[in-house]
Symmetry: C2
Subunit: 462 residues, 2 copies
């Protein structure tokens, strides 16, 4: 955990920004795995940790926006249970550690909220993403569970986005630790991917073990696949075969709750063939062009467009694209090869604050999501600021169903060489992703550099 | 998956045993981790897999107990989504693979149940352990969500217990695979525990990585602690220190959904001191005595009593206990040292069918849970049968809060040498656990033998 004052300042700022009403931040409860007592490893809500730190189930925090008073609620372990749990700090002791003035039981929370409801005070809460918290909000606030979202507070979300979007130095140190663990995960993947015949799950499992050995879980279910063109896939059942690229998209969380999110793509066996090398370098150039251009004051949407343009130029030199690449970009033809966005914010959530509502996280009053294929998948479009941490993850995919669809619709025929593209349907996909801090004038790629060029990858795999 | 006929036969038997009404077996949905789209690795409900196999979210199965007709429900992937998911089998195709006659969408399930409700048919379902399925049952069956348990079917649970309690040869092969992966997990732990200063989470993470590399998750959150006397603890934050025992209680699941559950306890650094060796051998003798006695026709409660008696005799020879050990056992004094039960059933759940209601899983018409401290924690008391798989996990713990409590109450003073016991408050705990198949005349310890004697452990750690 950070210094007590960090949490005090964050809560004070939040009260100031929200101005009026009670702010309720529910912590998470345990999630059952295959029966009530067998649970998934606990994951606290990120906003709860941001303001109230504890990575423990069944806690809630309240901040009175009018007075600035704060509260930590949860039930103490009963004396009889100490036989089984060992000595456990009380809620009062925990509240002291993070500088919270009031503390109480779950019943005290209920009473506080009931009184506030009777006084007609506004109660601000975040939209839930777990059924347990939806049910809890419904019962605490007397709102039907299917109507909870309607009443979730936009002011609260905006005030939290304002704080969590800009990372402090101590937060950046934590994210960098997470990237350093990802370095171990991905370099291990590279060494294991030398051996044709290895199963994807053997590599993915070993990588997850490295994340866990670093003290945190993976920040999302690892994507580790020789079919990188299947973008929504978590299958790990295949063996590494000659001629396939292995896409490895994986990161971890630190014990303090900060994420990394890194992608590397390597040739199964360790040597790129010419076709793989050509496409790889087109993607790498897109990644490097974006990296060069990221700085405060620039809209991330423009960085996305620069990256796909660079990719397009690379694909044109291979012969997969043709014509005016600027026109291809503006007409959306790059979506044939890269149908996803260039990146997203990263922090305590791997897609930071994704549950809040993208119009206030990745976009703002001045920017909004495009409806164009490809660009409409961009999670982050707004102007970059000093202290933001973002991902830079261009990719190139040969998706048979998508190729067939566009070809049959005669789409983008001025830009796409469908004849050559047909012969790439067995290629798979490539993605290269780093985590980047926007600095006062430019940016910095976070963490220990992970092999990224063809030469570096072939070296570590040799 | 097993042969199609396995699933057909299981469903047929279930219909026959339940006799009347519709049997609804809900599969699990995804569980959100830190926002809606970021999920925990999916874990299917074990009973769903037993009858309908698929380890995929958002499926449900129905069996008509009157006619034997069966149904698989779920929504097909839309054509547009295939761009992202790749080719995916349809519900109809999936139903064919496991020999299910009817298939349909989630809406079809709703319609089928509405019609059955209107006809006044009884709908059998299992008690939910996840909030999502509680909400789904509530909405499908028009039962208030807090009243669901009251209406969960006892007949259905009894009929499933009848089948799942007795493992087939093909199921035993799977459990044995899970134990063999646990062999790798625990021998790796032993080699890592040589090095004092190692953090518990480094070992636990590596072990979980081995489970995952074997293709399945851990069967429960790993217990890996130098404070084995804290029975309800999942903390992994400590370093291995000279003089502490490391308790490692961990197992995995196979891709087919079968569990292992193994405990080994080793001295940090690799060498037992005399005090550790003496207590260890008392626990080992309890484990071996139980192992010797397990056979069909014996109540598992009697095996538990034999194990704790053997432990008591060992502790008497150390001087920690005194007097008549038979009397100590019958008066419950062994609970001071081993306040938990000797074991439980194991299968597709690590505590097999724990969510059903213990009175029909671990006990039956003839046996019920004791209320005596220690024995009341025994999950399995009933008569053993050929084909059951159970755990054998005696332990001995020195729990300061428990020692203080009993001492201050003057309890068991004829049996416990509290003066010597005071000096063991820094000892920690020891547990030794194997997975055992009850055979037609005796039993078989499953899997590759994992070092268990003092000599074997010191050898692998040297």
């Amino acid at each position: 955990m950070f210094n007590k004052n960090t949490y005090i300042e964050r809560r004070k700022q939040l009260a100031k920004d929200v101005k009026d009403g009670l702010i309720l931040i529910l912590g998470n409860t345990d999630s059952a795995f295959n029966y009530t007592a067998n649970i998934y490893t606990f994951r606290q809500d990120s906003s709860f940790r941001y303001f109230f730190e504890y990575n423990l189930a069944d806690l809630s925090g309240v901040i009175d926006a009018n007075t600035g008073e704060d509260y930590l609620f949860g039930d103490d372990v009963e004396i009889d249970d100490i036989i089984w749990t060992g000595e456990v700090a009380s809620i009062r002791e925990r509240a002291d550690v993070i500088g919270v003035k009031h503390s109480g039981s779950k019943q005290d929370l209920k009473n506080l909220l009931e009184a506030a409801i009777l006084q007609g005070r506004h109660i601000h809460f975040l939209p839930p993403y777990r059924a347990e918290n939806r049910n809890t909000l419904s019962s605490l606030l007397h709102i039907k569970k299917d109507h909870i979202e309607k009443f979730a507070s936009l002011e609260l979300r905006k005030a939290i986005v304002k704080q969590r979007s800009i990372k402090s130095l101590e937060e950046i140190v934590e994210i960098e630790k997470a990237v350093d663990t990802a370095y171990e995960m991905h370099t291990t993947m590279m060494r294991m991917a030398r051996n044709l015949g290895t199963y994807e799950y053997q590599i993915a499992g070993t990588m997850e073990g490295i994340a866990l050995s670093g003290g945190g879980p993976v920040s999302f279910p690892i994507i580790l696949t020789t079919h990188g063109e299947i973008l929504h896939g978590h299958d790990h059942s295949l063996q590494l075969r000659e001629g396939r690229m292995l896409v490895s998209d994986a990161g971890c969380e630190t014990p303090s709750g900060y994420c990394s999110d890194i992608t590397r793509t390597v040739p199964c066996g360790g040597k790129f063939n010419q076709r793989q090398k050509d496409v790889y370098e087109a993607v790498l150039n897109a990644n490097l062009a974006a990296q060069e251009a990221i700085r405060p004051g620039v809209e991330y949407k423009q960085i996305h467009l620069l990256a796909v343009k660079t990719l397009g130029e690379g694909l044109k030199s291979i012969g997969l694209m043709k014509g005016d690449i600027d026109a291809a970009v503006s007409e959306g033809a790059m979506g044939v090869f890269m149908p996803h966005g260039l990146g997203h914010m990263l922090g305590m959530d791997v897609h930071d604050m994704e549950n809040f509502d993208e119009s206030i996280v990745g976009y703002d009053e001045k920017t909004s999501r495009s409806t164009q294929f490809g660009l409409k998948s961009l999670r982050l479009g707004r102007t970059l600021e000093d202290g933001m941490v973002i991902t830079n993850e261009p990719g190139c995919y040969f998706i048979p169903a998508l190729i067939d669809k566009f070809k049959s619709e005669n789409k983008f025929k001025d830009f796409v060489n469908y004849d050559l593209l047909e012969t790439y349907k067995d290629f798979g996909g490539i993605r290269i992703e780093d985590d980047i801090l926007v600095t006062d004038k430019s940016n910095r790629v976070l963490g220990k550099p992970i092999p990224k060029t063809v030469k570096e990858i072939e070296e570590i795999m040799s």
